[in-house]
């Protein structure tokens, strides 16, 4: 790890100002993704701006129609939250499947969403639920937020402050863990709303994506059988030493069915 300066601002504008004024500086939330890259000398930012002292970035609130989770809320807190378990049990379940206990205690929803790892779990929940990413400067709809392989709509200096989730009728997540990393080899989030069903897939390609044919079929009939015959195209799906593209395509259908099952149970 190369030396760096360390800042621990107390207010969001201060953090944003540091971020824009120190070139190549980085925000650090749980550090679960960032610190290993520093240790391996893959990144060497001159300064880290720690978000842990910022006010109002932690905690979970609800206003009936939406549940809002502060960016600095760790995965373990979301998984154990009575509120999330009652309103969006599929999301609590998703959080409980991330990594291991140590990772869930340190890792945050803001960090995960900002990082947009193609095999991370939260992006499937955020896109599947059609959530809104709230930042230091604006609100971004999930559909416009994720831009593929570690890319997001975040501008330089922009800080995620919270994620706002609409409360669905039903939602479920099914994850096929990659054998070694236990990130999602394929993870599918399914959510049923008054105006239809959303299906979001992580792990299978270079970034989280929706599956319109499954959404249409499930909007007609919210049952696993409705999508059993829908196979997604292998174009754009990842092939690596763990899984070939056609296997991933197959798993999308299997995990989508299991996600619907989870939502119904």
């Amino acid at each position: 790890m190369k030396p760096f300066a360390y800042h621990q601002p107390g207010r969001i504008p201060d953090a944003a100002k540091l971020l824009t004024s120190i070139e190549d500086s980085k925000l650090v939330a749980g550090g679960m993704t960032l610190i290993p890259t520093l240790k391996q000398r893959l990144a060497s930012p001159p300064a880290l701006i720690d978000l842990s002292r910022l006010e109002n970035l932690k905690g979970i609130t609800d206003d009936g129609a939406t549940v809002t989770i502060g960016a600095m809320t760790p995965h373990a807190v979301v998984a154990a939250s009575k509120l999330v378990q009652a309103k969006i049990p599929g999301l609590a379940a998703l959080a409980s499947m991330i990594g291991d206990p140590a990772v869930r205690i340190r890792g945050t929803i803001g960090g995960s969403v900002a990082n947009n790892d193609p095999a991370a779990d939260y992006p499937a929940g955020v896109l599947g639920l059609g959530a809104t990413v709230v930042t230091s400067t604006r609100e971004i709809a999930a559909d416009g937020f994720f831009r593929g392989l570690f890319e997001t709509a975040l501008e330089p200096g922009e800080i995620i402050t919270a994620i706002r989730f609409p409360v669905p009728f039903k939602a479920g997540y099914a994850k096929f863990k990659a054998p070694a990393s236990r990130y999602a080899l394929v993870g599918v989030f399914v959510a049923k709303f008054a105006d239809g069903v959303r299906v979001a897939v992580t792990g299978a390609g270079s970034g989280v994506f929706r599956v319109p044919p499954m959404e249409e079929a499930l909007s007609q009939n919210f049952d696993p059988s409705a999508i059993a015959a829908i196979r997604i195209d292998t174009d754009g799906l990842t092939s690596d030493i763990h899984a070939e593209a056609d296997y991933r395509a197959h798993l999308v259908t299997v995990m989508a069915k299991r996600a619907v099952d989870a939502a119904l149970s």
């Binding site: 990393s181 690596d240 763990h242």
Partner: protein
């Protein structure tokens, strides 16, 4: 007489006190005054010509003390890293043994090959400087697979090793096998891959070297399973340091599994560099560095054929294997897929004729060497797989075909057609015990239950034997060993009766400090707490060959047992004098020397006291002091074995294999500490399950890049992969080791892969699946099911 805890007891492990309270002393815990930091610059290419190395920027970087390359090694006329075994082909032509320079010279041959060593004041400065090194590589195509490496036109690693073949080795009577095949009613055939593995000990490798000008002595602290062997190989053959001027210390070592039983170039470089910079140097490998430099294991491609008569009796077995050696010959490299493989192909069966050909092949990969089991898991896998294939093809039950061919208990000692003679064993007894423990008779009920849940359930057997307790030196010498394989122990009885043992084996997780203390406690009648075991320091321990090949208890324990016998013998002489009796009348039991048939006696402590305060002592005929040493060279290998039964459930929708039950009934001879034996079995089985279901070192053909280069991509088995295991022993005693022990360190890893894969194939056999390569990953199973179910769907 205190607290004797002897053979057969399961005290908690002595060493865990320090391990569990964070007081272990590992190499990276050690700090020396004025210590500097070393970092290796490694090749990012699988195969390249070194066109030049520019040290300039690195040397000018802050804190840098030295930058050394292969040219400096050559200028100092240092030796090549030695190979401890020299094998030959059928005509007696020795293997090709190209030099293995400690820092690459002329060419690099695998990703991770070392090209330079940077020494700086701090690790940070050394790392920063290493990044500034400019190495001019002319990249060549890499070849990583054995099949590809022997093909005409393949990239050649060495100018004088045509077709990359190091040795074309064979064993057995080829003509007899051919004759038997002509008479066969059925021939079963099997092609398989034994997947390449990475050891992943919890503690990465590390070393510290220091040179003391005042005494002209070197000290190397290293994560090694065999410090005396490192002293010999490195001192005598690489660096030309006289043995008495070199101390090698292997303190607490956090797991080895074979990975740490080789002499590594890093050890030689750092020791050599310590004198050049006149400062101690520390190097600690990162996990990623370990992936591209720790020796890998297995990596075979094999074709096997089994000839049978109409009753399913095995007539002959023929095996052709290509074994990957990686880019250079490591310490034991060529011995593993030959001498530790071919002789095991008889298994527990009476197969009268066996022939084995192994082509040992160089590729642009990390050198391959021994990894827990080393050769025997590969042999067991080939044999136990093909037995199942033959059974299925001939319509004979898998247990029944094994019974028909098993060596009966009464037939021991049993001479196999492939060199080894088994001294004792009862494979049928292990099988019978395992069938009951695994509740095989109710398997049908469990299979039906799985089917109701849409899952396929399978049961797999592995009835196996292995050869360990390495090794009888004379025998090993005939096979090509360039060193001895005995062990030594010194038993030092202090004047107050406590005991310190100096032993040449190395404890890095096996519980030696406990097991060996139990042996001494039992044999000398002293308290378990009053025995300490010292190992891992060439200045404190007389000599030793170290720990590998399940040899510590078998060979080291035998030396220890003999040394305690010598202590007792001397104690009897002292007691005879003190008790004014004839030596033949002195009995030693439960820590007391007594005159037979009387109540006159002396305690062990009293005798020790008399030996060190020899006022009333037969000084004319006996030396004072009570310390004895023994060297023990085994007369044969030992042959632990047993029966493992795996039960798996396959989810056909995802291809996921779940191990739902595991039973092992093993014959490990005398059990000193049942808890430790069970622990060794647990760990060994988990490693075998890892090979069968999860682990795979994958290289990219052409570039030679390691694609599974971290724990994110190399899947280690984890606690939640495992069911509760049923472990039992069914022991026959080894007839030639002093205590009847056979060794248990590797049996789990040797027996299990075949059991697991046989279970997976059984689960899928109704779909026409006859073989699954390891690891049986979900993707691989799904692919098989796709191919298998096509004709079914077409019906």
């Amino acid at each position: 007489m205190g607290n004797v805890i002897g053979i057969g007891a399961s005290p908690k492990r002595k060493e865990d006190q320090r391990f569990l309270t964070g007081r272990g002393n590992y190499v990276s815990d050690i700090k020396r005054p004025g210590m500097t930091a070393g970092v290796f610059v490694r090749s990012p290419h699988g195969h390249a010509i070194l066109r030049g190395i520019d040290k300039g920027a690195a040397l000018a970087s802050p804190g840098v003390i030295a930058v050394l390359t292969g040219e400096d090694v050559a200028a100092d006329k240092l030796g090549s890293l030695p190979c401890g075994w020299g094998i030959s082909d059928a005509k007696g032509v020795p293997m090709k043994e190209p030099p293995f320079p400690m820092l690459a010279q002329g060419k690099v041959r695998f990703v991770g090959d070392m090209v330079a060593f940077v020494v700086a004041e701090t690790p940070e400065q050394a790392n920063a400087a290493a990044e500034l090194m400019t190495v001019n590589y002319e990249v060549l195509p890499s070849v990583v697979g054995v099949l590809e490496a022997v093909r005409p036109g393949a990239p050649q690693l060495f100018d004088d090793v045509p077709n990359n073949i190091c040795c074309d080795w064979e064993l057995g009577d080829k003509a007899a096998v051919e004759t038997a095949f002509r008479k066969a009613v059925h021939v079963a055939k099997l092609s398989l891959v034994n997947n390449r593995l990475i050891g992943n000990p919890m503690e990465p490798r590390a070393a510290i070297a220091e040179y003391e000008p005042g005494t002209d002595r070197f000290t190397l602290w290293t994560t090694s399973q065999f410090p005396h062997v490192v002293r010999f190989l490195m001192g005598a053959l690489v660096l030309n340091i006289p043995q008495h001027k070199l101390r090698v210390v292997a303190p607490d070592v956090g797991g080895g599994f074979g990975v740490k039983q080789f002499h590594y170039g890093e050890e030689a470089v750092i020791t050599w560099a310590a004198k050049r910079v006149m400062r101690p140097i520390k190097w600690v490998a990162s996990r990623s560095e370990g992936y591209v430099s720790d020796r890998h294991g297995r990596d075979h491609v094999t074709e096997a054929e089994l000839a049978l008569d109409e009753t399913g009796k095995f007539l002959a077995f023929r095996v052709n294997t290509l074994a990957n050696m990686g880019g250079y010959l490591s310490t034991f490299g060529p011995n593993i897929p030959t001498n530790l493989y071919g002789p095991l192909l008889g298994g527990v069966y009476t197969t009268p004729a066996i022939y084995c050909n192994v082509k040992v092949v160089f590729t642009n990969t990390v050198p391959v060497d021994a990894y827990r089991g080393a050769g025997r898991p590969e042999a067991t896998f080939v044999l136990e797989r093909i037995v199942d294939v033959a059974a299925a093809e001939m319509g004979i039950d898998r247990v029944e075909i094994r019974r028909r061919n098993m060596i009966p208990k009464e037939a021991y000692p049993y001479q196999t057609p492939v060199l080894v003679q088994y001294d004792s064993g009862d494979p049928m007894g292990c099988l019978d015990g395992a069938l009951v423990a695994a509740d095989v008779k109710n398997f049908g009920i469990r299979k039906a239950d799985s089917a109701r849940r849409g899952k396929f359930r399978g049961l797999g057997y592995s009835t196996y034997v292995e050869a360990c307790g390495l090794a009888p030196s004379r025998f090993a010498g005939r096979l090509g060993a360039r060193g001895g394989l005995y062990e030594s122990a010194t038993v030092r009885v202090h004047p107050t009766g406590q005991v310190t043992v100096m032993i040449g084996t190395h404890n890095h997780g096996q519980g030696h400090e406990t097991t060996f203390a139990q042996i001494v406690s039992e044999k000398l009648g002293v308290s378990f707490e009053n025995v300490d075991i010292v190992f891992g320091d060439t200045d404190r321990v007389q000599f030793g060959m170290g720990t590998y090949g399940s040899r510590s208890l078998v060979v080291g324990g035998a030396a220890l047992s003999k040394a305690t016998d010598k202590v007792v013998a001397k104690g009897k002489k002292i007691a005879a004098h003190l008790l004014e009796a004839a030596e033949v009348d002195i009995q030693f039991e439960a820590g007391k020397f007594s005159v037979a048939g009387t109540d006159r006696m002396k305690t062990f402590e009293e005798i020790a006291g008399a030996a060190y305060v020899p006022h009333d002592y037969p000084l004319e005929v006996l030396e004072p002091g009570l310390e004895e040493q023994a060297y023990y060279d085994p007369v044969n290998f030992t042959y632990p074995g047993g029966c493992h039964i795996a039960e798996v459930e396959v989810d056909p929708e995802t291809g996921t294999v779940t191990l739902v039950d595991y039973t092992a009934v093993d014959d490990v001879g005398t059990v000193i500490n049942p808890m430790i034996v069970e622990g060794q079995l647990h760990g060994g089985i988990v490693q075998g399950v890892g090979q069968a279901l999860y682990e795979n070192a994958v290289y990219d053909e052409g570039s030679g890049q390691l694609l599974s280069g971290s724990l994110m991509d190399y899947c280690m088995p984890r606690a939640d992969h495992m069911p509760m295991m049923k472990i039992a022993t069914h022991s026959t005693l080894c007839t030639h080791t002093p205590m009847g022990v056979k060794g248990c360190g590797e049996v789990g890893t040797i027996g299990s892969p075949a059991a697991v894969i046989n279970a997976v194939v059984d689960a899928l056999s109704h779909l026409g699946v006859t073989h699954v390569d390891m690891p049986a990953t979900p993707n691989r199973i799904w692919r098989l099911l796709q191919n298998a179910s096509l004709p079914v769907a077409a019906e």
